[in-house]
Subunit: 142 residues, 2 copies
DNA sequence: TCGCGAATGATAATTGTTCTCATTTGAGAA
DNA sequence: TTCTCAAATGAGAACAATTATCATTCGCGA
């Protein structure tokens, strides 16, 4: 469970809070976590890390490329381990369940749209909001 | 400049603040406006409407289908007149300039992605973040 | 013209996030 | 090992965007 290497070669010194947050993302059942999610999960597992530090660490990890940050409509941003493979998201409006997908044709057409409008594309966010079909849906989480 | 009809058949009673906000969207040079934009534009044109009312009216208009609401990464949401024709957005990361585009192929593929994952699509948000090529770019607005 | 429920203004409260600063920590020097 | 000190953390204040509260005002039908 000790993985200072990951932090080291990301240019971040290995500290307890950072190791805890990184480990949480690597072991959590949920792949997409908000700062508050991270904070509460750590607290409820006995680990004590201040909320301010959680925010700082999440931002640092994102800048270091370890995490990806997304802005769902919920108002709070969520983070996930950077798999290196880009994907977009389908978010259930009822239960908050998130599915990931990738569509090469969409990616190509986005690039096309940017070029046609004389923009140099940097990034994009595609969120599909929908109703999922999970049997236990409709019980609002997130 | 008096158009109580629009409000009437949207199920909203015709009040001064509502008329002012609606008129602003119909005459503003900028198509996409945040609540603060609306508030400041009204104030600077001599009209007095409280910020709380601006927020309330924007929300009501959005629910009534008169306005569309978007959540750009800026942190504050922006509104625009609902043209009835869906489109997505390219946002300049430097100057905040916004271009609109529509790509039928993207729309089709989004629907496909939702269906494949057993979701009933409700809505979607596609924002392309990029650098525009306006000669007067780079002077941060919004 | 009246009356009353709906809308508004002023401002407090909330939410998510960032900042400040005193204290602690971890990685390398001695 | 122990020492040193810049970097990191914790606690809480500060912030920005938005929503809620509530006394006052307004629009519209009787
Ligand atoms: Mn994801
Ligand atoms: Mn638009
Ligand atoms: Zn669901
Ligand atoms: Zn620009």
């Amino acid at each position: 469970m000790h993985k200072p290497e990951n932090l080291k070669n990301a240019g971040l010194k290995s500290t307890l809070p950072r190791l805890k947050v990184l480990q949480l993302f690597e072991t959590s059942k949920e792949r997409h976590l908000s700062a508050e999610d991270v904070y509460k999960l750590l607290v409820s597992s006995g680990e004590v890390v201040s909320l301010a530090t959680v925010y700082r660490v999440l931002t640092q990890f994102q800048q270091a490329g370890l995490l990806m940050q997304h802005h769902f409509e919920s108002g709070k941003s969520v983070f996930e381990l950077n798999s290196g493979e880009h994907h977009d998201h389908i978010v259930c409006l009822q239960c908050g369940h998130v599915e990931e997908f990738f569509d090469a044709a969409i990616e190509v057409r986005q690039e096309k749209a940017a070029v046609e409008h004389d923009f140099a594309i940097r990034d994009h966010a595609l969120y599909i909001y929908a109703d999922c079909t999970k049997k236990n849906c409709s019980r609002g989480s997130r």
